[in-house]
Amino acid sequence: MITFIRTLGVRALQIALVAFFVTVGTNILVRLVPGDPAQTILGERASPAALAALRQELGLEAPLLQQIASALGKLVQGDLGTSFAHRGQDVTSLIGPALAVTGSLAAVAILFSIVGGVTVGLWIALVRGPGADLAGRLVITVLLALPSFMAGLILLYALSLRLGLAPAGGWAGTWPANAQYIWLPALALAMYLGSLIARTVRQAALDTLGQPFIEAARTRGVPRSRIVLCHVLPNAVLPVIPLVGFNAGILVGGAVTVEAVFALPGLGAQLLQSMSTRDLPVVQGIALVTAVAIVVFNLLADAVNIAADPRLRRSH
């Protein structure tokens, strides 16, 4: 329990730091870089008066420190600011639904990765024909080199456009109808993480097989099937949890790009739109939200890890 509270504290600190840095950082950057957000919003032909009014409205006239302080203050209250492009609408209500979509995509992708990766990794380690091992390692290498959005393009073409196994993008808006739209992009996203998991599980399984306690169990008379199931499997699967946590950042980055390929109304689409309208508060908001989500996710991974590995708990 103590370990868990300590981890909780560390993660909370991380969240605070990240939020701080992103907010302060972007505010400073905006000030440092030549260019006028008001100009970009209103366009080339805006009148000086309109520009000045907008700058006032957006709070760009205030001194830097005051801007930062106000941004941080709002942040603590959970207010992510107001969108530049959709005037008057606050960022939170814009991001919320998109976050739900991206979140479900990521969740399904993680599920696919773990199930697929563990199965393949164990299979390669335990079947152990040199052919299977080599082929498996080759496939894993290729998949690790494949960026998520490219995996998305390839799968979209092969499974959806050619074989018609899935719709070519889009979203239903309600569950369970969304399921048919989510599985292919989730599969594309799972290629990378799944390969990483497979490789790690394979290595962990091989390492475990070489451990003295495996041999000791065999000489005690424990049958091979039980050794594989109850001794090798838990030890081989253990590194998967922190691995997933560590790759949460990459996963989110990938999710965002895969969404763009499959036209899912998630954060990716949101970004696409906000980038073209130069809507800084929304982009900044998305950055903050995803950062916090990742740290929270890491915290969950820590918790699961502590629960699963008895060596991590303080001994009685």
Binding site: Q211, T219, V222
Partner: protein, 326 residues
């Protein structure tokens, strides 16, 4: 009438084509305890592995000779398959690494009991608690719930013993059972092993580099050097009147209370297997060595019908002690 349980004749063990143990002739009778003594590299652990069927995982195999357990041939790989835990059982050297860190002690015990069908009709959990009690662990209920890293070395060793006797094996092989333990705990473990083997009428092979442990726990002993048996015989006899130069030097090197002056060691060091001489392997370090010792591996000579000594000069050396031996 004692019955022969394990019989090894002219046994040789090789790993990856290199012969590391040669010409092993050993016999263990039912209910008797044999000690195997030697330094690191003497081949005692490999011999141990050959007996317990653990050569495969280090890439070793029996390359020559015969090995039988109650008449069953143990030479082919996989011969031990049905015997693990039932006829032959091994207590490994390091108790911490021999236990799965993610698994409770209770699970280790119950899975072994179930695998060997050894619950005596009581149910695995009850039998597990019973076993812990037999090896002298009190409060078995609490221990069953614990994880390996939460227990002391002595307790873990007792658990390894409990696991090894769960299936009531005929032969128990203990590989350096006391090496990793405190001196005070060593005595208890040795007494426990002695008691259990008597009560269950189990034969035991005790491998150790500690002469004191072997003298307390065994009736016969084999002294190994560089992959061969230098001398074997009744424990008391061998330790009191060693006949092989190596055994003599080993015993002379033991520090004695109240001794003043330099400690005597054995000059030199055992050669690596690649550099083993063609003749007697101890010759380079032996103070009785002659040139003829290097010609051939000495065949064991029987002394007084009970001691086997692999030395061509055993009679002459004994004469130097002022003793006449036949």
């Amino acid at each position: 009438m004692t019955q022969t349980l394990l019989h090894a004749s002219n046994l040789a063990i090789e790993i990856d084509g290199r012969e590391l143990v040669s010409n092993i002739d050993l016999t263990i009778d039912k209910g008797r305890a044999l000690g195997i003594v030697g330094e690191t590299g003497s081949g005692k652990s490999l011999t141990c592995r050959a007996f317990s069927g653990s050569l495969g995982s280090i890439g070793g195999r029996i390359s020559r000779g015969t090995l039988t357990l109650s008449g069953k041939d143990l030479v082919p790989p996989g011969a031990h398959a049905k015997l693990y835990g039932r006829a032959v059982s091994l207590i490994p050297q390091n108790s911490l690494s021999a236990l799965n860190p993610l698994m409770r002690i209770g699970t280790h015990l119950t899975e072994t009991i179930k695998a060997l069908n050894a619950d005596d009709g009581l149910g695995p959990k009850v039998r597990a608690a019973q076993l812990l009690d037999r090896v002298g662990l009190h409060d078995p209920e609490r221990i069953l719930r614990q994880y390996p890293h939460q227990l002391s070395g002595g307790m873990r060793q007792r658990i390894m013993i409990a696991l090894a006797i769960a299936g009531r094996p005929e032969l128990l092989i203990a590989d350096e059972p006391t090496t990793a333990l405190d001196v005070s705990v060593q005595k208890d473990i040795i007494e426990l092993l002695g008691r259990l083997t008597r009560e269950e009428n189990m034969a035991m092979i005790l491998v150790s580099h500690d002469l004191g442990v072997v003298s307390a726990a065994t009736q016969s002993v084999a002294v190994m050097y560089s992959g061969m048996i230098a001398e074997q015989g009744p424990t008391n006899t061998v330790l009191a009147t060693p006949r092989h130069p190596y055994t003599k030097a080993l015993l002379a090197a033991r520090p004695v209370m109240g001794h003043v002056g330099r400690l005597i060691g054995i000059p030199g060091a055992p050669a690596s297997p690649d550099a083993w001489p063609g003749g007697c392997r101890f010759a380079p370090r032996c103070r009785f060595a002659q040139s003829a010792c290097n010609d051939a591996v000495p065949a064991p000579v029987t002394i007084n019908e009970e001691q086997n000594v692999a030395c061509r000069r055993v009679h002459e050396i004994a004469a130097l002690d002022g003793v006449n031996v036949r």
